[in-house]
């Protein structure tokens, strides 16, 4: 059966050891995790975790059930098939000199990335987006020589209905 990347979103209790329980479960059951990201949610005492897992549908469903079984997990859903927003953030430190600096900045601009640090021999680019966007930027910049890169795991949520997200935040689909 074909494997694919799945995005699971879990609402978990904000207690010591929760991340450990999650990680221990993945290790023990031999589930291969691409990334895991966790932070506060809009609800007090609850955090939201985004887990990216590579596997067959059946295997990912088993992951979901095992995660759901954890006492500290309030809810978990596989949002892979849903209309969703998924973002990662990367910091990329690129080799630069006076000759290449402008070109790097232009490329960053095209990707709506920010220049967050400039030194005599490097430029650091901050980029947010989905995995493809970050990979494309990375590939383009690698021609100049990458000195360092740090990347967050994916965070994701399903899109709200248009009406609701507009009235709440004054924005359309982001």
């Amino acid at each position: 059966m074909a494997t694919a990347k799945h995005t699971l979103v879990a609402l978990v209790e904000d207690k010591p050891g929760v991340l450990n329980r999650m990680a221990s479960l993945f290790r023990r059951r031999g589930f291969n995790i691409e990334s895991i990201a966790v932070g506060h949610s809009e609800l007090p005492h609850l955090s939201r975790m985004t887990i990216v897992v590579n596997g067959t549908t059946a295997m990912v469903e088993q992951v979901r059930k095992q995660v759901d079984k954890l006492v500290d997990v309030v809810k978990v859903s596989d949002i892979t098939g849903s209309d969703k927003v998924a973002r990662e953030l990367a910091l990329i430190k690129v080799k630069a000199n006076s000759a290449t600096r402008t070109e790097i900045i232009e490329i960053a601009d095209i990707f709506r990335a920010n220049i967050v640090d400039v030194a005599s021999d490097s430029v650091t680019v901050e980029v947010t987006g989905d995995e493809d966007k970050i990979n494309s930027l990375y590939n383009l910049l690698s021609g100049f020589g990458i000195k360092e890169m740090a990347k967050t795991g994916r965070i994701a949520m399903t899109r709200g209905s248009l009406v609701r997200s507009r009235s709440r935040h004054g924005r359309g689909k982001g």
Partner: protein, 574 residues
């Protein structure tokens, strides 16, 4: 009124209806032990090794359906519990383990007798707690008992730093438990139940495959109703043994690696498998890709994560077995299934898996059949692990509900004696027999002192074959009889009994079996019999590891050479 953490713990245990704690003291639980005498309703039984405390709590839990409680100090006390906790986890047994921990300021500093027991037991507990202050202790205990006993039961550990035991707080026992992430589904989905009923009513060749979930949920009557109304043969897993009366005409016994050949054949040829409270363990299914190849599968279990884990299922029903069966039974149309039942009955005649071969020597199977006769099937049987366990499961006829207590999932040698002790404490009025191996028995033999000190009247039958028999059997069958590290010498068990101050007998010949058992039955307290059985007897039938259920070796010694082929070395464990 303010109370100490230790008092809060005891008050909470009393509220939970705890009657007995199996434990062993030490520095980090001194305050708890010092407080215990204020609560005479909490009986403490001093074990001789903490592993024994965990197994005893497990045996007690299985025998009573209540939560079994064990207690140990920090560090080595806590780590000694680990095997017992893992055992309870794999067999879904409701155990609450209480451990002392170093005082809060010392946590994380590698203090004397500090281990991270919540970290260590993370993957083998349903949940665990490190208690951070006395004020939260009552809530923790309330939650722990609720988690341990409800849904799919399991062990829960509560780690209490010694300064928390002394800290003062108000005692308020919460009336309700609210765990946002924990809501076991009890009622099966009505549409799924309807689908299941339709499959059952239309089925040509159905079998019921029942596991320990039936026992945990107490669904004996409901299972019996379903089997009788729809005329379906009932097969059980090892831990399902005694969920359905084995003397019943529809009972076809245990399936799996050492299951009845006819039961395995029926399962393999079934058109519909109604799996109830079981989890398709590899010991049960045999080779998974050829498991019940023609069957549709209905799977009823309280744990959604078990559904679809090992086999794919046609009709999953998540819920409590008893509640689901109650609803399902209403939709079942009574049928005669003479042809199918006749077919299964023929298989039973063609493959008499319980026949004891003719032999002048003392056969272990014979011993067990005599224990059955002497106890009239009324006893609770607790086993060791290995051949003794399989023979005990096969040759005692379990007619009464929940009368076999055995370590299934973990297969823990040494489970027997302490678990029997726990079972007897839970069932003081019924006979409890331990059927153990000479190897297994030596792993927790020190609990003899406990049963003597507390006069726990366990009857002990050691099937002494001078071998780690089950491993020897695998060496005979798969390693050309190279008996490496399986011949095992034993102390003189009768002298050991004498040393521990309980009566003991040695039995070498068939003729002595019945009188010895009679003596044990008639004796008031604990009693030990050392049965010197045939050393190289094998357990049959046996489905070789990696084989399909119908590829069992049935008769002793037949076909043995054929599989002694190193290309077929077993991939799974003993």
């Amino acid at each position: 009124m303010k109370r100490t953490g230790a008092q809060i713990l005891c008050e909470s245990l009393v509220k939970e209806g705890v009657e007995v704690i199996f434990g062993f003291p030490g520095g980090a639980v001194l305050s708890l032990y010092d407080t215990l005498p204020q609560y005479p309703q909490l009986r403490h039984i001093l074990v001789r090794h903490e592993q024994g405390a965990a197994h005893a709590a497990d045996g007690y839990a299985r025998a009573t359906g209540k939560v079994g409680v064990c207690m140990a100090t920090s560090g080595p006390g806590a780590t000694n519990l680990v095997t017992g906790i893992a055992n309870a986890y794999l067999d879904s047994s409701s155990v609450v383990a209480i451990t002392g921990q170093v005082a809060r300021p010392f946590i994380g500093k590698d203090a004397f007798q500090e281990v991270d027991i919540t970290g260590i037991t993370l993957p083998i507990t349903k949940y665990n707690y490190l208690v951070r202050d006395a004020a939260s202790l009552a809530k923790v205990v309330r939650e722990a008992f609720c988690l341990s006993r409800t849904g799919r039961p399991g062990p829960v550990l509560i780690d209490i730093p010694r300064d928390v035991q002394m800290e003062q707080a108000e005692f308020n026992y919460p009336r309700k438990v609210e765990i946002p992430g924990y809501k076991p589904t009890l009622e099966g989905h009505p549409a799924q139940i309807k689908k299941a009923a339709r499959l059952i009513n239309e089925a040509q060749h159905p079998v019921i495959l029942a596991g320990r979930g039936v026992i945990i949920s107490g669904a004996y009557a409901e299972l019996k109703y379903l089997a009788e109304a729809a005329q379906i043969p009932v097969l059980t897993t090892l831990l399902g043994v005694s969920c359905f009366p084995e003397g019943h005409p529809l009972s076809y016994g245990m399936v799996g690696m050492h299951g009845m050949a006819y039961a395995n054949i029926a399962l393999h040829n079934a058109g519909l498998v109604i799996a109830i409270g079981m989890r398709f363990d590899d010991r049960v299914t045999g080779r998974i890709d050829s498991f019940a190849p023609q069957a549709r599968i209905i799977h009823i279990d309280i744990d959604p994560a078990e559904i679809g884990k090992n086999v794919s299922v046609d009709v999953p029903i998540v819920g409590d077995v008893k509640l689901v069966l109650k609803k399902l039974n209403k939709l079942i149309i009574s049928t005669e299934r003479t042809e199918w039942i006749g077919q299964v009955e023929d298989w039973r005649k063609e493959h008499p898996s319980l026949e004891i071969r003719d032999s002048a020597s003392l056969l272990p199977q014979y011993v067990i059949s005599k224990i059955y006769e002497a106890t009239k099937g009324e006893a609770t049987i607790v086993t060791g692990v290995g051949q003794n366990q399989m023979w005990a499961a096969q040759h005692y006829c379990y007619d009464k509900p929940n009368t076999l207590i055995s370590s299934g999932g973990l297969g823990t040698m040494g489970f027997g004696l302490p678990a029997a002790m726990g079972a007897k404490v839970g069932r003081p009025d019924s006979p409890v027999w331990l059927i153990d191996g000479d190897g297994s028995f030596q792993m927790t033999i020190q609990e003899l002192a406990t049963i003597v000190q507390d006069n726990i009247a366990v009857k002990i039958a050691i099937l002494n074959n001078g071998f780690l028999g089950m491993v020897r059997q695998w060496q005979e069958l798969f390693y050309q009889k190279r008996y490496v590290a399986t011949p095992i010498s034993c102390p003189d068990f009768v002298k050991i009994a004498e040393g521990y101050c309980l009566p003991g007998l040695r039995v070498k010949h068939r003729g002595e079996v019945v009188p010895a058992i009679k003596q044990a039955v008639e004796h008031e307290g604990p009693f030990l019999i050392d049965f010197m059985v045939e050393p190289e007897e094998n357990v049959y039938p046996m489905v070789p590891p990696g084989a399909t259920l119908v590829e069992a070796i049935e008769a002793p010694k037949k076909k043995v050479e054929a599989i002694s082929d190193s290309a077929k070395l077993p991939v799974s464990n003993i």
